[in-house]
Subunit: 422 residues, 2 copies
């Protein structure tokens, strides 16, 4: 038996299937990640985190639970982590990025659903994700039709709290609704944890999430350097790990990596020399979904930045200052999260403007728009994104795909042609 | 030139394509409708409406416009028709039910979108729907991701007002948001029409919509008789026509049809004698989408009732009594519409309970669940609907399809097997 087998068994995992999932990851990671040249030294920590992906961090979660703490699964950058933390809970982002569990999901769910939702549903159904198994509660939201309705299925077996995200954010009633939803989450977390959330506790948690967001922001700012001080693939991994790693450790390691990237920038040192810079925009890439970045960075380009939920949308407006009262702090938190320019809003002009300005600020020669198959909000909004980019004179390619490997060759051909053109 | 060619040309229609669309309808309608045996005499009016589908009613709309009235297109049973009428406007339901315009839509929209949305988008793009062309404004809503984002595209060319429908209806803030949205529609309609909407005007409009809803409800109650006094196909057509016909004339004709159906019920006279009764539930069927009903009613069954937006969801809680003030009346209207059990809500238990109770009340031997391809909310909720029906001992079959005719044979085979089994 391996080191963690007893732990995984205790969580009710299907050990045989889990082992085969780990086997796939163990094969892909060296090929996709460790083979990269000139990586920053600071990536060693993140490589270590991946090598322990279902080990050390899960062990930490279980130790936290043993001490009476709670573990709460989330699926969206809209769920305020500060509130979970203020209740002494650890939040873990659970979006699924693996093809492996999709056939399990398709036994129940319609096939015409985005792979991210199917992946996580399959993980639950087949019992192959230790994070999901460790959760005391899940917090879902209503950012898309697929997720909104899948919570109803998960509720039959798990404790799921659903937050309503409004759809037209500029209206005062939408803000009021969202502020109320944030308060309901606080109440729900107090019930779950048996701890009262005071303004002081929330301010403490805010100092941690602010620090994490600022570290990610700092890394992104360093990525403005040309040549890119870090590959997009590596930067994506950092963002993916942000969703479930220990917040203090993650912030420290990300700051160290950012400092290294800054130094590289000053010295004109970088990766993938001579590559063309692109901005990636669109749907999130949950770990271990590295497909698009791999295609781009083996086609003569480097990803300069990501306008995605596993990118800049995660840490925009990084700092929230605590208010004098709990209510004031909560409103500020709610307002910060409401600013996130997700395609679930109508209209969503701010995101479209943001894509254009990020392409310019990160000096991208082109934009790769990423749309997960069957994601209706991003695919339709993508038509407007394309239009705005063309108007701004910025070349754009839209890639619609899922987690399968069947279209890799075709994607590479298209990408190489795009990179040559820009 | 035909009788209406000048009118259609004036609306900017593509006459050649429009003629070919009319040709298809002219071929299908006699085959699907006029060939039915023992139809109630009251259906003659509705046959006439179809024979004039892009003629007489469009002429009426244009005459209304000439007198200074407005025409407003809608796409959902959530848009309160009363408010349009109180501003002296005519509301027309514009959901698309024709395969014909889908290739036009797919030039722009993703293919993985429900045919209803693609159909209407194609009608707009190819200029083949005189109703759309006659509209001064469209009122969209946020009931699904696909529609929500397509309004953003349509807004580039047309005047579109979007109403936010909340997603968790039981919360007080959701009700507040919706009531505010209803008020914003009133304001928008006042601006468009240049007329003030008073409580008296609204009460007057309510008496008309109440009457229409009660007539439809009456027809449905008559359909509880066994044998069915009217085919499901005919009843569906009546519902479809409810969305765009003159409200007074429609109410009168539907009441006459209901009276005839009641009389048939008392005399034990009906259609499709010996057929098994089924309830249809699921996604709406916009005119001329008669596919599923045709399959069912040529497979040994008769549709006893529809739990759809082109069925019972349209006229539930038929009567809204005016309040003493405009605000009170508006709140009552908002509250009535909020009760509509659309799958856009989470959770949506009321619909699921309603499907079970309707199956019993209309004495259905089984339920046919209809899911338009790529409709995520109904397909996922459908899993819970199936579960509830099975628990209640009611056989159920789920049919996922689009507007194409390619799967007709396969559907008929499946349906015949289901009907034999129940």
């Amino acid at each position: 038996m391996g080191t963690y087998d007893t732990m995984w068994e205790g969580l009710g995992l299907d050990l045989r299937r889990h082992e085969s999932l780990m086997g796939i990851l163990g094969e892909f990671y060296p090929m996709l990640y460790l083979s990269q040249k000139d990586r920053p030294k600071g990536m060693e920590y993140f490589d270590f985190v991946v090598s322990e992906i279902h080990g050390l961090r899960v062990k930490e979660l279980l130790e936290h639970k043993k001490k009476g703490g709670k573990v709460v699964g989330t699926f969206c950058v809209y769920v305020p982590d500060e509130i979970l933390m203020a209740a002494g809970a650890i939040g873990v982002g659970l979006c699924g990025g693996a093809e492996f569990s999709i056939p399990d999901a398709e036994k129940t769910l319609p096939r015409d659903l985005c792979p991210l939702i199917k992946s996580v549903y399959g993980f639950k159904d087949a019992k192959i994700c230790p994070y999901l198994q460790a959760c005391d509660m899940l917090v879902g939201e209503t950012t898309c039709d697929g997720k909104k309705k899948v919570w109803e299925l998960l509720k039959q077996e798990l404790d799921v709290h659903v937050m309503e995200v409004p759809q037209k954010k500029v209206e005062p009633e939408a803000r009021a609704l969202w502020r109320a939803e944030v308060r309901k989450l606080l109440k729900r977390m107090e019930e779950l944890s048996g701890r009262r959330i005071t303004n002081e506790k929330l301010a403490e948690a805010l100092s941690l999430t602010n620090g994490k967001r600022k570290a990610l922001d700092r890394l992104y700012m360093a990525r403005r350097a040309d040549p890119a001080p870090i590959s997009g693939k590596d930067a994506l991994l950092v963002s993916q790990i942000a969703f479930y790693d220990d917040v203090r450790r993650f912030t420290e390691k990300t700051n160290a990596l950012a400092a290294e990237a800054e130094e590289r920038g000053e010295k004109g040192k970088g990766v993938l020399a001579g590559s063309k810079r692109v901005l990636v925009t669109g749907t999130p890439m949950a770990i271990p979904n590295w497909k698009l970045h791999h295609v781009i960075e083996t086609s003569g380009a480097v990803v300069a930045a990501e306008e995605t939920c596993t990118g800049a949308r995660y840490f925009h407006n990084p700092e929230v200052k605590p208010g004098r009262t709990l209510g004031e702090t909560l409103d500020r938190i709610a307002d910060r999260y409401l600013e996130t320019p997700c395609a679930c809003f109508t209209p969503n002009d701010r995101r479209i403007e943001n894509v254009v300005s990020m392409a310019r600020e990160w000096n991208a020669a082109g934009v790769v728009q990423y749309v997960l198959k069957f994601c209706q909000i991003y695919s339709i909004e993508g038509i407007l994104v394309e239009k705005a980019l063309k108007k701004a004179g910025i070349p754009v390619i839209t890639v619609e795909t899922d987690y399968g490997m069947g279209d890799m060759e075709q994607l590479s051909t298209r990408m190489a042609a795009f990179v040559e053109m820009i």
